[in-house]
């Protein structure tokens, strides 16, 4: 499965890692729902680190789309909320 970390590029992640990543994703989701910035920071960092650990970089000339897209590692709560709604802006 190919996962993109925004601002960082694509990684090919082994399917075996999916369960663990889903757990981290659920923690992140909870933190966002509660609006807890500190928890959110920790969860986002953990998720991005998990994807990095489980993945290998996709060659830069690959034109494959990603199955999953992760926010920037240093994104704040407001930014991620924006990415999750229609306000998310993609220029170009």
């Amino acid at each position: 499965m190919i996962v993109r970390i925004l601002g960082e590029g694509q990684l090919s992640v082994d399917d075996a890692a999916t369960a663990g990543l889903n757990e981290l994703d659920a923690t992140l989701s909870d933190a966002i729902d509660r609006g807890n910035e500190a928890e959110f920071r920790r969860a986002l960092k953990a998720l991005v680190a998990g994807v990095r650990a489980a993945g290998t970089p996709v060659p830069p000339d690959s034109l494959q789309p990603s199955e999953l897209i992760l926010p920037y590692e240093d994104a704040d709560l407001a930014e991620v909320r924006k990415l999750m709604t229609d306000e998310g802006l993609i220029p170009g």
Binding site: V3, R4, L6, G7, E8, G9, L21, N22, D25, A26, L28, S29, I32, L47, P59, P60, D61, S62, L63, Q64, P65, S66, E67, L68, I69, L70, P71, Y72, V80, L83, M84, T85, D86, G88, L89, I90, P91, G92
Partner: protein, 295 residues
């Protein structure tokens, strides 16, 4: 819904919307390629902008470092001259300059990281654009309407995702740079106004002025000692009055009350400036940079 899935969904729908489809898929290929080249230009400009901001911060760091060194030297000089009050003042300002410096160092590191990220993003996009161009030419050469759409879609989805990512990265970098430029502008103003050297609201570089004044004052004291030795006991009261006004610092007004007879002997000692003039001469020198910068 999970965060990753939600972000993916939104991202994809936006990326697809950004792509205008032409009637002939081959035109869409060329059109998209043009957009990609434009995006490459844009990300390179972004890298250059961030680099400019980084250099500006670097310049400011140097300026403040110099100021900090100067204040440290002034503190040392002041302490050497037994003026602990002046030394304390200089060290207080130095500590304020160091705080600014720390803040700028953080900004510098952040801009440097941003620059690296954008540089890598630009290289990645370049690779994908090259790959897309090859794919585009192959599709056009072996074009059959039936299979074209699938193959074009495949090529598009990968590149449009990259374009979306890079586009957002540029936007983020621009936002960050704009914030920092505003702060850099504020620091430039601070430096120009001399406020960094002027925490206490006293005239700019008054520490140096005071040290200079003391330097000149000591010289006068020295000359007076010499004269005292030459002339003998008679002139002692006048000399005491002269030195008292000198150490009082500001000066001209006090000196107006000093008995005039004190000055003729000083005129005799050629290189020495009368105590009353030292204060006057030192003050405009201290004020002039301030007025110069103020305009």
């Amino acid at each position: 819904m999970s965060v990753m899935k939600r972000v993916t969904l939104i991202f994809r729908s936006k990326a697809n919307k950004a792509l205008d489809r032409m009637e002939d898929p081959r035109e869409t290929l060329d059109y998209s390629y043009q957009r990609q080249l434009e995006m490459l230009q844009k990300v390179r400009r972004g890298v250059a902008d961030v680099a400019t901001s980084r250099k500006r911060v670097e310049l400011q760091m140097n300026q403040i470092q110099q100021q900090s060194n100067k204040l440290e030297k002034q503190a040392r000089d002041a302490l050497g001259a037994g003026r602990e009050d002046l030394a304390r003042e200089a060290l207080t300002r130095r500590s304020s300059a160091q705080t600014q410096l720390g803040d700028l160092q953080t900004q510098y590191a952040s801009l440097q990281a941003e620059e690296e990220k954008l540089t890598i993003a630009s290289q990645r996009l370049q690779s994908k654009v090259d790959a897309f161009r090859t794919r585009k030419e192959t599709i056009k050469a072996t074009y059959t309407a039936a299979e074209a759409q699938t193959r074009i879609n495949e090529a598009f989805s990968g590149i449009s995702e990259e374009m979306g990512d890079v586009g957002m990265a540029i936007q983020r970098a621009e936002d960050k740079t704009a914030q920092m430029q505003a702060r850099a502008g504020a620091i430039d103003e601070l430096l120009a106004s001399g406020a960094l050297e002027d925490v206490s609201g006293a005239p700019r570089d008054d520490i140096q002025a005071e040290l200079d004044r003391m330097g000149a004052g000591n010289d006068v004291e020295f000359q007076l000692q010499k004269l005292r030795g030459e002339i003998g006991g008679g002139s002692a009261p006048e000399l005491e009055a002269g030195s008292a006004s000198d150490s009082a610092g500001n000066t001209a007004r006090n000196n107006a009350q000093v008995p005039r007879p004190a000055t003729p002997p000083a005129d005799g000692a050629q290189p020495t400036i009368p105590a009353s003039d030292v204060g006057e001469a030192a003050l405009p020198a201290a004020e002039s940079p301030r007025t110069g910068d103020g305009t």
